[in-house]
C-alpha cells in the first residue's frame, strides 16, 4: 500500500503529512503535483490524501477553484471507483466542493480564523479512520481554519446520521458534546464525515499535528494507525495487534 499526497500550489500541510506518513508511520508516500492528470500508479489498496492549506489562495471560496484542477478529475474518478481518499482541513473543503462528500464548510460563526487544540469524539467504528478505536474515544487534535463550520441541509444531515456517516464530533476534554466545545458553529458539532460508500473521508482537525512525542501529543496517530490497518486488512494480511500509546 502507498499514500499519495496531492500538492496544490497553496497547500501548506503537504510536507507535514508526508513527514508523518513516511517518517512517523513508516509508510510509502509520494507527492502528486496538482498538474498531474492521472493517478495511474494508484490502486484500491492505496490512499490519496488532500492536505491542508490554501489550495489556490482560496480568495474566492475555499476549495472552489481546486475542484477544477487537473488532478481533481483524476481524484474524482479514483474515488468513484472505490479508491480511498482522505481530506484534511482544506482537503475536506475541496472534497465537499467536488461533491465527493455531502455538505459544505462555511465561515466560522465568530468570523475569525482559529488555531488551537480541541477535543474530538469518535462516533462510529465503521470507518477507516476509527475502526481500531472504541466508539466514544476522545482525542486531542488541533484545528486551524477560518472556514470550518460544517453545514448540510436537513435531509442530508438525516441521511448522514441514518447511514452512520458522522465520524467525529467536537467535544470537551471529558467527552461531552456541548455548544461550548464547538469551536466554529458546526452543525451538531460535526468535525468529520465520510461518504455513503465509506471510501471518502474528510475532517477539519489536523491529526498530522498531533502524531509525535516531540510535539507532546500523539492522539492523531491513532487515526493514521486505523487508516493503515484498515487498508492492510483488505490486503488479506494478518491483522496486526493495535498498539496503544
Amino acid at each position: 500500500m502507498k499514500f499519495g499526497v496531492v500538492v496544490f500550489p497553496g497547500s501548506n500541510c503537504d510536507r507535514d503529512m508526508m513527514h508523518v506518513l513516511g517518517n512517523v508511520m513508516g509508510q510509502e508516500v509520494v507527492s502528486i503535483f496538482h498538474k498531474e492528470t492521472s493517478l495511474d500508479g494508484f490502486t484500491h489498496r492505496d490512499c490519496i490524501i488532500l492536505p491542508g492549506g490554501f489550495s489556490y489562495g482560496d480568495y474566492l471560496r475555499t476549495g472552489a477553484i481546486a475542484r477544477f484542477s487537473p488532478v481533481m478529475s483524476a481524484v474524482i474518478d479514483f474515488a468513484n471507483n472505490g479508491g480511498r481518499v482522505f481530506g484534511i482541513c482544506n482537503g475536506f473543503q475541496i472534497l465537499c466542493e467536488a461533491g465527493l462528500l455531502p455538505g459544505a464548510l462555511l465561515r466560522n460563526n465568530n468570523m475569525k480564523y482559529v488555531c488551537k487544540n480541541i477535543y474530538l469524539k469518535t462516533q462510529t467504528r465503521e470507518s477507516l479512520l476509527t475502526q481500531s478505536m472504541k466508539p466514544g474515544t476522545v482525542l486531542k487534535v488541533p484545528i486551524a481554519h477560518g472556514d470550518g463550520r460544517y453545514y448540510a441541509d436537513a435531509a442530508t444531515l438525516q441521511q448522514l446520521k441514518d447511514n452512520d456517516q458522522v465520524i467525529f464530533r467536537y467535544c470537551d476534554a471529558a467527552g461531552n458534546i456541548t455548544d461550548e466545545a464547538n469551536p466554529n458553529g458546526s452543525l451538531e458539532n460535526i468535525a468529520g464525515i465520510c461518504n455513503e460508500g465509506r471510501n471518502v473521508y474528510g475532517m477539519m482537525p489536523h491529526p498530522e499535528r498531533a502524531s509525535e512525542e516531540d510535539l507532546g501529543n500523539t492522539d492523531g496517530r491513532l487515526i493514521f494507525q486505523s487508516l493503515i490497518e484498515s487498508v492492510l486488512s483488505t490486503e488479506l494480511e494478518p491483522r496486526k495487534a493495535i498498539s496503544s500509546y
Binding site: 510536507r15 507535514d16 490554501f54 488555531c115 488541533p142 499535528r209 510535539l215
Partner: protein
Amino acid sequence: MSSDASLVPTTVETAQQLGLRPEEFDQIKKILGRVPNFTELSIYSVMWSEHCSYKNSIKWLKTLPRKGKHLLVEAGEENAGLIDLGDGLACAFKIESHNHPSALEPYQGAATGVGGIHRDIFTMGARPIAALNSLRFGDLENDRTKYLLKGVVKGIGDYGNAFGVPTVAGEVYFDPVYQTNPLVNAMSVGIVKVNETVSATSHGAGNPVFIVGSATGKDGIHGAAFASKDITKDSVNDLPAVQVGDPFQEKLLLEATLEVIKTGAVVGMQDMGAAGITCSTSEMSAKGKAGMKVWLDKVPTRQPNMKAWEILLSESQERMLIVVKKGMEAEVKAVFDKWDLHCTQIGEVTDGGIIEYYMGSELVGKIPAESLVLGGGAPVYDREFREPAYYASGKGFDMNYMQEPEDLKQVAENLIQSLNICSKKWVYEQYDSMVGIPNMSTNNPTDAAIIRIEDTNKALAVTVDCNARYVYADPFVGAQIAVAEAARNIVCSGGEPSGVTNCLNFGNPYNPEVYWQFVNAIKGMGKACEALGTPVTGGNVSFYNQSTDGGAVYPTPTIGMVGILENKYATMSLNFKNDGDKIYLIGENRDDISSSQYLIQNFEVQNSPAPYFDIDEELALHKAIKALIKSNLINSAHDVSEGGIFVTLIESAMAGGRGFNIESDPNVRKDAFLFGESQSRVIVTVPADRENAFINLMMKQDSEFAVLGDVKGTQVIIDGQKWGTVNSWKERYDNALESYLVAAEAEV
C-alpha cells in the same frame, strides 16, 4: 533630452518635495556632474531615505557587536543574519517594522510586513519555519485602536496562515503613546543548508537579469520615503504608498525560489521590498561592483502606460530580482513556469558600476550604483542629541511616597486583567501557530518558543522582547533589559542565546531628545549584547514614529533573539508539574516598583527610573539556570517580568493547572515582592527529592536563591491567606482582552 517631463532637469524644490534636503540635492549634482532628471531624482530620494540608507543611524549601529562564535554572516552583509547550527545547517533570521503602512491601513500594512520579512529570509535560500511579531497600540478604549488591533491581527494571520509558516511567539502592549503610531514589527526565522545560501549580488558582464513573481503595479510608490516622515493628518493622502499583499503568490515564489537555487543557475538574488526595482538593481550591483542595463519597458505591469519612475519605485509585493548565469536561462524559466509565475529578462550585467535604465530605446536614468547605497555614496549624518528633562525627574522617584494599598488581592486582580499582562489568546489564536509542525511549545509551554529543526536532534529557542516603558525611563538601562530578558527567556527554555536582530522604533531623529534616546539605547544594547555573547546580525531602524498631535512613541528597540538547543529534548517548560514540588526564586528581591505595571496602574506615576538591573547579576543568573537544567534539578523555570513574582507564579500555576502556597520575603515591602519588576529573577520548581542536590548546586553559584513555598492543590495561598482557585485567576486572565473587544462588537 526628450519632451517627457520626467527627463527634464529638476530643481531643488522638486528634490525637497521628494523628501531630499537641499544639501543632498547638491551632492547628487556633484556625483552625476549634472542636474538629475525626475526619474533619477526619485531614485536618489528613495535610496537616500532613512528607510534604505540608515543615514541618521548607521554611525551608531556600527558600534553594536557584530562578531560571535555562531555567526556565518555579519550584520549588513546580507539580507539577514546567519547563525551556524552545525551539521551543515544555518539559521537565517531578521525582524523588520511595518509601522507607517499599518497606521493607515492596518490589514495590508501588517500583512505585507509579514510577507516582506519572509522574503528577506527565503531570498537567501532559507525556508522560513517560524514567524514572530511585536505589536504596540494606543488606548484600547479608543475605537480607532480597536480597528487597528483587529486589522493588524487579521493581516498578520491571513498572510502568515496562508503562506504556511507558523506564528510561534510575540508580544502586544497598549499605551496611549502609540495612539497615532502603532508599531508592527515582524520577524522571520528560516533554515538553510550552508552551501545553498544565495547572496544579494550581481556580477559577470553579459549575465541576464530576471524579474520574477508578481507583476508590477502602482501600489507602494514612495513607500520608503513615506516611512521616513512623521505621520500627519495629510498622511491619508499617502494611501497609495501602502502595498497590497498576496500570500498565495508569495507561497509560489517561495517554492520556485528554493527550487531555482538547486539548478545552480543563480548568481545572485534579492527580494523587492522598499524602493522595489531601484533598490534591488542598485544594491546588488554595488555589492558585486558591477553595472547593469535595465529595460523597464520589459517589466510585466499590472496597468498600461506606467512611467519609468513608477516602475522603478513601485513596491508591489511578491517580486524578486535574479541574476542568472548566461546560458542557463532555460532552467530558470522552467522552474517559474512550473509554479505559474512571471519570469522575464529585464536587463543584463555590465562592467563599470553604472546602472542604465531604459524605456524602449530611450535612456531615462544613468547612475553609479555605488553612489546610491549604504556604505557607498549615501549620506551619513552625525545628529545632535540632548538629555530630555523627564529623565532627571524620573530619577527623583521615591517609592516611600507610594503608600502600600491595603487590599493587595484586589490589586492583583486588576493587574492580571490589565491589557499589558492578561492573556493575548484573542490575538494568537487567530494565527496558525503549528503549520509545518516545528513548534514544540504548543503542548509544552516555554518562555521562548521551541522550534525543532527537521532531520536533526536540535531545536531553536526564539523570542521577541522589549519593555518600552523601561527604555523610555532610561534608554541605556532599558535597552540592556530588553536584550537580557530575551536571553533569559531562551536560557529558561533550555537554549543557548546566539544572536540578535533588532527593530529600532523611535521618533523623529532630528529632535535632539529623541536622538538622545536612540544613542543611549544603542549603547545599552551594545553593552548587553557584548556581555551575553549575542551579536547583532541585522534588523532595521524605523524613525519618525511621531505625530503632530501625540509626539514621539516610547523608544522601542525590539529585540528578536535566537538561541540554540543542541538537544531538543532538553527543553525546560514553565508550567508547574507536581504537587509537592518546591518553589524557589533565583535572583534577588529588592524594594523596587520603578516603571512597573503596578506603579502605573495604581499610582499613575509616569516618570520613574527603569527597574533595578545589573548585567553581572544577569550573567550569574543564566549560569545558574543552565547548570540547574543540565543537572536535571528543576521541573520548571519561568522568568519574572511584567507584573512581578505574583504574575510569574500565576502563569506557571495556570499552565500546570496547579495551585501554590508561598510566603513573601520579609526583607522587602510586600507590594514590591509581589508586583515589583526588578530584573534578573526566575521562579523555578524543584522536585522534593532533589532539593538537597539543588541547594548544593546553588551554594556554588553566584546567584542568590530563596525558597518561596510549594506547588499544592488548586488554591492560591499567599502568607496563609486564601486568594481563590487557580481556575478563578485563569478566567480573569483569559477573558480580559476578549471581553474588551466583544463588548465593543456588541455595541456596534
